[in-house]
Structures are given as C-alpha cells and as structure tokens.
Symmetry: C2
Subunit: 185 residues, 2 copies
C-alpha cells in the first residue's frame, strides 16, 4: 500500500486496521512499567476494585491502537505524527484475550498556512473488541501530513539550485514549493 | 502518603510528581512494540524526517506521564482510573536523555449522581523536561474517585446487615451509603 498525501484524503473516508490479541502477561508487563496499580497487575487484587478483574491500562489500549493504526490502511505520507487529540475516551476496559481492531474516519483535511509543505488531517478512531464493543475512542486526532510528493524526495529537484531570497508569498508557486522543500530538509 | 477521597480535593489544588529520565534504548523498545515508525526507532533515519532526530512516541510520553502520576502526590482513593481526557497535546517531542516530571491541577470536583459511592475529578496535567519546557499536556483528564472512606472497607460496617430494599433516595443518608457500599463490593 502506498503512502497518502494531503490531497489523497477527503472528509468521510474510512480506514480499517488489522487485529491484535492481548493476553494477561502483556497487560501485566505494560502495567508494571507504566501503570503499576493493582487492577492492572493482579487478577485477584483486581476483583476488589471497580474493574472486577484484571484490566489493561488505558495507556496500553492507546498504545495498541497506535500499533494498529501504523500498520493499518491510513498511511499518511511522512508517518502518523500526532499533534494532539481533541477528545479521548475509554468507555470500557480491555480484558485479557480481547482481540482489538481500529476503525478510522477522516473528519477534516486542512493545508497548513505557515508551512505549505505540510497539512493536517483530523481523524476519529474507535478501537473495538471482537464483539464490536467500543474500548477506546479518540475523537479527532490531529495528524501532520506531507502536502505533496515533491517534499518527500531525498535530494532537491535541481541539485545546487536555490530559490530567490524573497518573501515566500511573492515567489512563483513552483519556487515556493522548492523553498519549502529546502526548509524541511 | 495517604489516599485522597473526593472531599479531600478542591479546585485549584496542585500536585507534583517525581522525575524519570528516558534513554534511547527505552525509546526504541517502546516504539518497536507500539509505534514502529523510523523517527522513533533509528536516529539516522529520524534525521530525514520532521523530527530531525530520534524522538519518543507520543504514547510513550503519555505512558511515562501515567507512571509519574501513579507514583506522585495526586493519589485519589481507588487509584488513578481514567474515563477520558478532554484535550491532549504534544507540543514538542521527548528526546533521549530528557528528564520528565508532571505538574497537575484540580479543575473540577463532582460527586456522581447515579453512584454516590463515587465521584469524578477533572485534572489538568503538564509534563515538562528538566528545562521546564512542556512536552505533553492533558487538559482535564477525568478520573474516578471514591467518595468516602466507608466504601473502601473490605468488610461491611455491620456484618450481615442489609439496607431496606427501597429506592435509594428515600433512605436515610447513612443507609444510602451502606447500600452503595454493598453495590460496589
């Protein structure tokens, strides 16, 4: 699957991911490093808490969602680089044995005004278990995205060539893109 | 340090955390499991990306923030159990060698209407490096919190005693709390 540039995204597009199954040992290992609380570490201790049994840390669910997104269909050019998330929810915890997958929808596509080599897409993602029950939701993750293929070349379009040192908005659009290319390489 | 119940929190309270230093190997290990993209895996490959060098996955930063919160001063009774976050931002990436700490402020304290044994606090947390530069920000994480000490006992206040089976709002407040205790144990 090839990478998608800003122009390849449109509002309403949907993308899917593969599937990942999570087990008890993984839940405990993540928790012992990042979220060492009884309900994430020990099933017996977890029974006396509001979780009523071992549950994955919400950050483990978020990290697994990222893994599914990186390997999924979304593939923005330049990688999945997040600037932030507008709303994030964990409606129910992930349990040992759950098999997760992610569904994403493009909510907004916006070129950057200050950096024409880049743009931004807003994406809503939902992480579901094998029964289709929501386990995690990020309402509009804000991702950077490369604007066009020119900026992804590893060498300049003309070796040694430099755009004139004028304010970028008075340059020819082609020169603007080269100037941006030089600035982002 | 003892746990804090809902009544122990007031709007405007601030809490600090300890410090954690992150190294290159940890960044790569987290990324290879959860966010396998070049700018999180390999410093050389990362130089050709918008990160200009190895950077921690934003989810690694979030997970480290959780570790600092769990071991920090906040200590809500029942643990740090998040229902969601209203806004999450990564203004700049975390780099190898960064030493992180978290500052938190209570924004809201709200008893639950449907579950009087519980309440909710909203907390804004900022993760800073050793120079005091912001690396991660969660504007109002929504955390569950136990409402009072009665609900944290492991055995009922009077063994075998049961509140009358009336609608909870017509019971005596003390009986309400016991009913809630039984429901959440």
């Amino acid at each position: 699957m090839t990478e998608r540039y800003l122009d390849d995204f449109t509002v309403g597009q949907t993308f899917r991911s593969g599937r990942l199954r999570i087990n008890e040992e993984q839940i405990r290992r993540f928790a012992s490093e990042f979220d060492p609380q009884p309900f994430h570490l020990d099933d017996k201790a977890a029974r006396d808490t509001m979780f009523r049994g071992l549950a994955a840390s919400g950050w483990h669910t978020a990290a697994l969602t990222m893994r599914l997104l990186v390997e999924g269909e979304l593939k923005p050019a330049g990688g999945i680089v997040g600037a932030g998330i507008d709303e994030l929810r964990w409606p129910r915890p992930v349990r040992p044995g759950d098999e997760l997958r992610v569904e994403s929808e493009v909510l907004e596509v916006r070129p950057s005004k200050s950096r024409p080599e880049q743009g931004m897409i807003k994406v809503r993602s939902t992480t579901l278990n094998e029964s289709g029950e929501g386990r995690y939701r990020s309402s509009s993750a804000i991702l950077w995205c490369r604007a066009n293929r020119l900026h992804c070349r590893k060498t300049p379009p003309v070796a040694g060539w430099k755009p004139r040192n004028w304010p970028i908005d008075v340059l020819h659009p082609f020169e603007q893109r080269w100037k941006n290319w030089l600035e982002c390489h």
